[in-house]
């Protein structure tokens, strides 16, 4: 059933990598675009299909769980088909292989471009240009193409040669300096990749807007999304406080820039269990005090207003932490919510996987086993459409899984030509053995 898909009939020629680019095209694939990932078996694109094309169980176990947690702790011979970090951004997509650096491979890519509506990339600047696939060449092949470029720091200006992953983009976008422990220097800040999530969403949004314009006018266009400029807008309050009031913002830990007091993450009974609590209003504070049984430390009328609580924020946090530390996380969560206080458990990845609300609301879909992973529950897209079939329609694309479809059905190659390209190494379901050995 592909009914009423918002982007039915739209095809994406997808050169995107890592998370920002690959998630942008995933959101478009979720909406029904046919997203065809162009994969080169002779090039290992870092952080795009796995940490490495050659991973043993011991190495995988050294890598943080989100990237190293392959099935059963054993990546197997094709880690690019079972990396928890990367295969989820390949849902609803198709994958085909081609060495675009060779003339016959480039011809295949060009043939795909001619029948595509969107071309997406976030490769190092100049990568496509080296193949002769600059914007002018793409538009010559497909005048109404929507081209999405997602450079880290822009395609013009002094920062064009900057290189970076999400953590470096987060740094320049002002994200990194705003998070961390208030009593520690930023040197202790651990990496996160908020910018990948953000830029991916905006890349998809911009393409959706451009496709609407194209549907109405027939006109394509080029989109440049400099990830750093986009991500800076995830922190408008800090930037505007600097721009308007000359005030520099640093980390406030887990406190609230919305003025909620208390607002923080407090320990619960057990090992490494935590609950987040926000009193979003004086009414929620009164509910909390009642729930606590009106202890002496909370009884002062001064604390009834947020300005009063601001004078005693450390004390409130300390007393609250002492109290929560003896309570069981899940009980406390439900009891506080029932009492009218905003609270939520800090769910680790296991808690989230087993969360009863997510299970009850259809957050997961069980996908059948492949040669590279067992039957597994995968997340479905966050947006639920009552009529359009937006959802997890097809499993993450295995490397080269759709070679037959792309070469034969889409591009109409005959058996001879198919076999010739296969013999030349273009058509395959594995990376080149040399590349695996040396990566």
């Amino acid at each position: 059933m592909n009914e009423y898909l918002p982007l039915s009939g739209i095809r994406i020629c997808d050169f995107s990598a890592v998370w920002a680019g690959q998630s942008a095209t995933m959101y478009l694939a979720d909406m029904g675009a046919e997203c065809i990932k162009v994969e080169n078996p002779f090039i290992w694109n870092p952080m795009t299909r796995a940490a490495s094309p050659r991973l043993n169980a011991m190495t995988a176990n050294f890598i943080p769980a989100w990237m190293g947690g392959h099935p059963g702790g054993e990546p197997g011979p094709r880690p690019w088909n079972n990396s928890p970090a990367f295969i989820h951004v390949l849902r609803n997509k198709k994958s085909f292989t081609v060495d675009s650096r060779r003339p016959e491979g480039l011809a295949i890519v060009q043939a795909l471009i001619r029948i595509s509506d969107v071309l997406a990339e976030n490769l190092a600047l100049g990568t496509l240009e080296k193949l002769g696939l600059d914007d002018a060449a793409i538009k010559a092949m497909r005048p109404d193409m929507v081209i999405l470029h997602m450079p880290a720091f822009g395609r013009s200006g002094a920062y064009v040669e900057g290189r970076g992953y999400g953590s470096h983009i987060d740094a320049v976008a002002g994200s990194t300096i705003l998070r961390g422990y208030p009593d520690s220097a930023p040197t202790t800040n651990a990496q996160i990749f908020a910018g990948d999530f953000w830029a991916g969403a905006h890349g998809a949004f911009a393409v959706l807007a451009a496709l609407r314009h194209r549907r109405r006018t027939g006109e394509g266009q080029t989109i440049e999304l400099a990830q750093v400029e986009c991500s800076a807008q995830m922190f408008p309050q800090a930037a505007l406080d600097a721009a308007w009031n000359g005030r520099e913002s640093g980390t406030i830990g887990n406190r609230s820039m919305e003025g909620f007091i208390p607002n923080g993450v407090f320990p619960c009974a057990g090992v490494d269990r935590w609950i987040a609590i926000s009193c979003r209003s004086d009414a929620e504070w009164r509910s909390l005090v009642a729930f606590l049984g009106r202890p002496a430390w909370a009884a002062s009328p001064e604390l009834g207003s947020v300005t009063g609580r601001a004078q005693h924020e450390d004390m409130i946090e300390d007393r609250l932490a002492e109290w929560t530390a003896t309570r069981e996380q899940d009980d406390l969560f439900h009891a506080l919510q029932a009492a009218g206080v905003t609270a939520g458990p800090v769910l680790n990845n296991r808690d989230a996987a087993n969360d009863p609300h997510l299970a009850a609301t259809g957050a997961w879909k069980r996908l059948p086993a492949t040669a590279d992973y067992p039957e597994t529950d995968f997340g479905v897209p966050a947006c639920r459409f009552s009529r359009s079939d937006v959802g997890l329609r097809t499993a993450p694309a295995l490397f080269g899984e759709h070679n037959d479809y792309v070469y034969r059905e889409l591009l109409g190659l005959g058996d001879d030509e198919y076999e010739r390209l296969k013999a030349a190494g273009h058509i395959t379901d594995t990376y080149d053995a040399n590349l695996i050995a040396t990566a």
Partner: protein, 392 residues
């Protein structure tokens, strides 16, 4: 489109649409969207028109004040819905029903796409639960894995999680518009903030899948960085983020620091990366180099060598940065009450249909009269509605 959202996530979704040209009519409750009370304030003076959060989130929108609790406001809603291509709401499920703006009630007015943004969706055990920026990231996002082991898990800066969820809602809104224009259908599109974070590509989707695959828990790190060089380093005037732990990245990093002692092949041996003594030896070279360079000097050398190194910018840096200025990250807003002030401009450059600031965020109820008149209410109708407190 009719925008019934408030606070942060919903208004960000409709801002994305408004900034690319959609006509967004924002319905505000009497007294206004509560984001009008969020800082920073222009000149540090609080005021209903002076909120930076509101000014950022509501560019290019029109403001109509109506009190949905008053029956007289119903005709206003009905006429707005009948003319809309999309309705976006962000009420709690119980509130939606009480105010008569749940999907079924809106569907009775017109078969228009409705995007409803809720904390936890319209079903399930947490349906009516409260949520904040912090609890959203705690439950949905990868807070548990962010920070250092032995310390409490950490949130993101500002209101990042709510804004991220708003961006996801923007995609859902565009999907609903495409489905309507391509297939002629209205429908109910739901986004739960919790789900958007559970689906975050900032490791959460990955860590959940990793648990299902391997049973491994994503713990917080023991310290920043890894390998011989990596993590955040102090420099002369701040900090830089460094990735140099392996192969090619290490070589580019060495090219940046340009010290022959680091060119010894021993640094490339796999066992070196795990050796604390080797790290100490490398740090003895790296730290002095870092501390004698400014962030911009380090970044210039990094760009020359294509090293994975970048400075930690602050809000001031982002505002003052010459390259961002030249490229057009900032625009100047001309506000009839507040005068001129800077604002973030385009998050992306669309060649044919550019991001454009057509008008600043609206003053409270600025467009009530004009919109009601456009909807066919006579001036006496409007006067009556105003006197009844249905609009303002």
């Amino acid at each position: 489109m009719l925008d019934l959202t408030s606070h942060i996530a919903g208004p960000y979704a409709t801002k994305l649409l408004a900034d690319l040209g959609a006509r967004v009519i924002k319905l505000e409750r009497p007294g206004g969207d509560r984001s009008r009370g969020l800082g920073p304030f222009l000149g540090d003076q609080p005021g209903v028109e002076r909120s930076g959060t509101y000014q950022f989130l509501n560019t290019n929108k029109e403001s109509v004040v109506a009190d949905l609790k008053r029956p007289a406001a119903r005709t206003v809603i009905e006429r707005l819905v009948a003319k809309a291509d999309l309705v976006v709401t962000s009420f709690a499920p119980a509130t939606e029903e009480r105010l008569g703006v749940d999907y079924n009630a809106l569907r009775d007015i017109a078969d228009v796409p409705v995007l409803s943004i809720t904390n936890f969706g319209h079903g399930g055990p947490y349906r009516d639960y409260r949520l904040s920026e912090t609890t959203l990231f705690a439950m949905g996002g990868e807070m548990f894995g962010h920070g250092l082991i032995g310390h409490e898990p950490l949130k993101l800066g500002g209101t990042a999680a709510l804004l991220q969820s708003g961006a996801m809602a923007g995609i859902a809104a565009m999907g609903a518009i495409h489905a309507r224009e391509a297939h002629g259908i209205g429908q109910h599109v739901e986004i739960s903030l919790f789900d958007t974070q559970i689906n975050s590509t900032d490791r959460r989707t990955a860590s959940i899948l990793a648990y299902r695959f391997s049973g491994r828990i994503q713990e917080r790190a023991a310290g920043a960085g890894g390998g011989i060089a990596g993590g955040i380093y102090p420099v002369a005037d701040g900090y830089v983020e460094v990735t140099a732990s392996f192969g090619n990245y290490w070589q580019r990093f060495v090219e940046m620091v340009d010290d022959d002692a680091l060119r010894d092949p021993k640094w490339l041996l796999p066992q070196t990366a795990m050796d604390p003594a080797a790290k100490e030896e490398a740090d003895a070279i790296i730290y002095p180099w870092m501390l004698t360079h400014t962030r911009q000097e380090v970044w210039a050398e990094a760009r020359r060598a294509h090293a994975m190194v970048a400075p930690l910018f602050t809000g001031t840096d982002i505002f003052e940065d010459r390259v961002f200025r030249e490229r057009g990250l900032w625009v100047e807003v001309h506000h009839q009450l507040l005068g001129s002030f800077p604002m973030f401009g385009r998050p992306y450059v669309l060649e044919a249909t550019p991001w454009r600031l057509r008008q600043p965020a609206p003053m409270l109820g600025e467009h009530t009269g004009a919109v009601l008149s456009e909807l066919g209410f006579s001036s006496s109708d409007v006067a009556t509605l105003r006197s009844e407190g249905a609009v303002a």
